[in-house]
């Protein structure tokens, strides 16, 4: 089972029903695995804030929503995180590609990598960094449950290596 398939297995295990996404290279590969799922509806959004609201809508309607986006897209989401997720206390799990970290081979992502964790901390978003050498399925499911229990956002940062 590939890393992407293990992440999807984690989403399924946690009862995620809708995964809304704006892709980058890595998230696109993950969404290809999501589309193989019979339990999760993949939704292609044009903009990351929409993806957050779509996932929240699924959650409010009795399902569980997840957002799969790049870190640059996460930076777009400050308003909707504050004005929807936090204000209404809606569980929302994020899988975010950690572009620009030390393992990213693409130089122009470096500025995003430098501000990713500081932004998550400043926005008070609980996050974890995926570790494909351990129980990735469990790590994803745990992230979803963390969002549900806290009635807020929870973020799992992944890299391209995690999808292999």
């Amino acid at each position: 089972m590939s890393g992407a398939q293990r992440i999807v297995a984690g989403l399924e295990a946690a009862g995620v029903t809708v995964a809304a996404s704006v892709p980058d290279t890595w998230i696109g590969k993950l969404m290809a695995a999501v589309r193989e799922s019979t339990k999760i509806r993949a939704v292609d959004a044009a903009r990351e804030e929409e993806a957050v609201a779509i996932a929240c809508g699924a959650g409010l309607a009795g399902g569980r929503g997840a957002v799969l986006i790049q870190n640059a897209g996460l930076f777009n989401c400050g308003g909707v995180l504050a004005g929807l997720v936090d204000l209404y206390r809606i569980p929302c799990f994020f899988v975010v590609s950690y572009r620009g970290d030390a393992r990213d081979p693409v130089y122009y992502h470096e500025p995003k990598g430098r501000v990713t964790e500081p932004t998550l901390s400043a926005w008070r978003l609980p996050y974890a960094i995926a570790d494909r050498t351990t129980d990735l399925v469990g790590q994803v499911a745990q992230g979803v449950e963390r969002a549900v229990e806290s009635r807020g956002a929870s973020v799992l940062l992944i890299t391209g290596e995690d999808l292999a």
Binding site: D44, E49, A53, G57, G62, G83, L87
Partner: protein
Amino acid sequence: MTSRKPLLEALVAMLTHDDVLVSCLGANSRYLPHLAVPAPVFALCDSMGAAIPLALGMALQRPDRHVIALEGDGSLLMCPNVLATVAAARPTNLTALLWVNGHYESSGGQRLPSAPVDWPALATGFGIAHVERVGDVASLRTAFPRARAAQEPALLVVDVAFDPNEPIPPYSERPDAIRARFRIP
């Protein structure tokens, strides 16, 4: 041009227990607690542009319910791309009403950028198949049932009068109360 309240009252009168209503921030959200809405209501008081994608998520999760989103022209002008997202997802149970008054009513009545946005053409261009323009209560009463029966994403462009002296009631429900009460049976 028709004012907001009779249009909103006419819409609410057409809703049923099988509907779900999602309202954008501003006047609609502020009026709704004072109306007898038979459907579950999720009213936003912030997050401009979130009503339609929020309704889309609900519609996909609950295909047995018809979800109606109320959005303002100022909000949709920030993120018209959501129309493409809706067109791509193709829910058969989502109707959006776009309230067009050319003003940011809830933030003090400032004018929108003075571009002659052709909302029906824009929506059609994004792939929304069922689009109608509504200018009064009578046309809303005929257009809304058609939209609900369309079996494809629908958008009603509702031209509504802007009145800076309209006595819009203040927000009367806190978000935590709205969240706690919202349930789709």
